[in-house]
Assembly symmetry: C2
């Protein structure tokens, strides 16, 4: 279609993935931009990106696109913004962006609820032996089992007369952890423990406010050993990277209760996979629920964690709901368009070179 506005004067916006029928019309009806979209339903070819990014004022990318010096060189000096549809930005060379005065947009916050939901789901599934019991049904073996008082019996998330004290432990206590805690309250949780980066400032007032809002008997910042030893569920919800690599190791897992459950919905690198497989095999802990695993997606059927029936593994679907992914895509698009039109982004990172 001929469009008067699609002249070389319109700012070029390059998008590395079709964002679906709920979001694309928002971009496509903007006649004041020159939109270029990778047309296939897979990660865009590097070659395509290097060719098409030339002259772009805005580049909208997803997790699997590497935005490095070569891409920025190919784009040229008019590039004003890189906007990623993700909360992480390991795939983007932020130093290079800062040097060139290119802004970075990302999509925090909008995925908090979806990941908190996933965390609760995994806590329940790991405690209730969901993988083992689903497999019985799916393989047609249900007829082989007859009811017994403790057949398939798992660990209860909710408080009970024999376990009236319920302690949630959070390795990292940011937005998603706090949203997860909120969801645990009607399950009868009474105590909350958390660890934070050793360099972070204590927040006693915030903690007292959260404790009071939820009517908890205690909410305390503790060391890793205490977190492991006292929690009924440990939720791993800290950033990845070298500083947090293998925080959940053999030492940590040996300190956990035999009845407790480990949930990781942040980054695989925080948990030592081999130590966890050993902990499950030797029943140091009750079960594990993982949405992330070190080395993903190169996780094959012979991976030691896949072989453990008490290990629930999901293929990194923490934020994968239609609702949240639409919100993330919309925010990524709005961030890019905001820079082009000279207004403030809704969510941008301060970059320092």
């Amino acid at each position: 279609m001929f469009s008067f506005f699609n002249s070389s004067q319109s700012p070029k916006v390059v998008l590395t993935r079709n964002l679906g029928p709920d979001v694309m019309p928002f971009l496509e009806r903007r006649q004041d931009i020159d939109l270029v979209v990778w047309g296939q339903d897979r990660t865009c070819d590097r070659k395509w990106l290097l060719e098409n990014v030339q002259g772009a004022r805005a580049l909208i990318v997803i997790l699997t696109d590497s935005v490095d010096q070569e891409v920025l060189d190919a784009a040229g000096p008019q590039l004003q913004v890189v906007s990623t549809m993700s909360v992480g930005y390991d795939h983007i060379n932020v130093k290079e962006l800062a040097k060139r005065n290119i802004k970075l947009g990302y999509t925090p916050d909008v995925l908090t609820d979806a990941v908190a939901d996933t965390s609760i789901m995994l806590a329940l599934m790991a405690g209730r032996n969901a993988r083992e019991s689903m497999t019985v049904v799916n393989e047609g073996k249900w007829p082989e089992y007859s009811w017994g008082p403790f057949l398939f019996a798992g660990r209860q998330l909710s408080a009970s007369s024999s376990s009236p004290v319920r302690t949630a432990g959070f390795l990292g206590f940011g937005r998603i952890a706090q949203a997860t805690l909120t969801r645990l309250i009607p399950f009868g949780f009474t105590h909350c423990l958390y660890t934070s980066s050793p360099s972070s400032t204590p927040t006693p007032e915030r903690d007292a406010a959260i404790q009071e809002a939820h009517g908890l008997q205690a909410l305390r910042r503790v060391d890793l050993d205490t977190l492991a030893a006292e929690s009924d569920i440990v939720f791993v919800l800290a950033p990845g990277g070298a500083a947090t690599a293998n925080l959940v190791d053999e030492h940590f897992l040996r300190k956990m209760k035999k009845t407790s459950v480990l949930v990781n919905t942040s980054r695989g690198t925080l948990v030592d996979s081999h130590a966890l497989a050993k902990a499950l095999r030797e029943r140091w802990i009750w079960g594990a629920g993982l949405d992330v695993v070190t080395g993903e997606p190169q996780i094959t059927a012979d991976h030691p964690l896949v072989k453990e029936p008490r290990c629930i593994i999901l293929p990194h679907i923490g934020s994968a709901t239609v609702e949240t992914r639409i919100d993330m895509a919309t925010l990524a698009v709005k961030n890019a368009l905001a820079v082009i039109s000279g207004t403030e982004m809704l969510a941008s990172l301060e970059l320092s070179s």
Copy 2:
């Protein structure tokens, strides 16, 4: 071991299943009873029961033992109580008990939290395509998938900017349904609908109190069509039996939203399995989470629901937590001993012949 008290004077208590290391010592150290226990880890033989129940003052049973006229005749006229470790009592001839003035103990309430937990777990699993995505990992196919904006995307339980209104629907609104509703509140649920038996009395004051306690925008008793049409999740939590058979049928399922989820943690007979399989296959609804299926445990791998990847099926583990099963077993034992010692049972049914 010789025991002075194990004379024919001590009341005989027959137990059809070993109740595990947390409960058995409580019975075994009672030297004022003559305890007879089926010794194997499977349903007790009928022949054993008929022989051993003779002269019993109390009979403690589980779901899989049929307590009929023949068993009661074999026991003899001194039998005072049948105590079952279950909330259901379809396996017991209650009319015959009433005729003979034998008391019936059961174990309601103690399983409310465990089943409410299971209901939340299934709502999350069905919405988030947990079976399909777990299978990808367990079969070693994760490496074949690369990230995409809507890969594995499910439906979000929590409220979101695109779905700020969240409606929980309950087919039956007793204790477990109300405990499930409580757990949904921090997920951002705003509305609650329920149906009750047509013959039951409306309870506007109770409903207003629940609505206010949870800060809901609405809590309404509705007809089945409205329940189906307006709920984001339908929880089936009504008694089984002829009056509720196939309440969830093709008509009901066709009225549900395409984005909605069905959860059944009560009795399989309430849901028409063939209609549900069709609804999932043809995507009338998003997914289903079932802890119970008509005809269980005779559910084989070629069952139409087992073949639907959007159908999560658990082998009736609703109350199967160590904590709750200990509580149920303890209550069943206490109910039996209470009658023998002439005190009130903690949970008994009024029987009318």
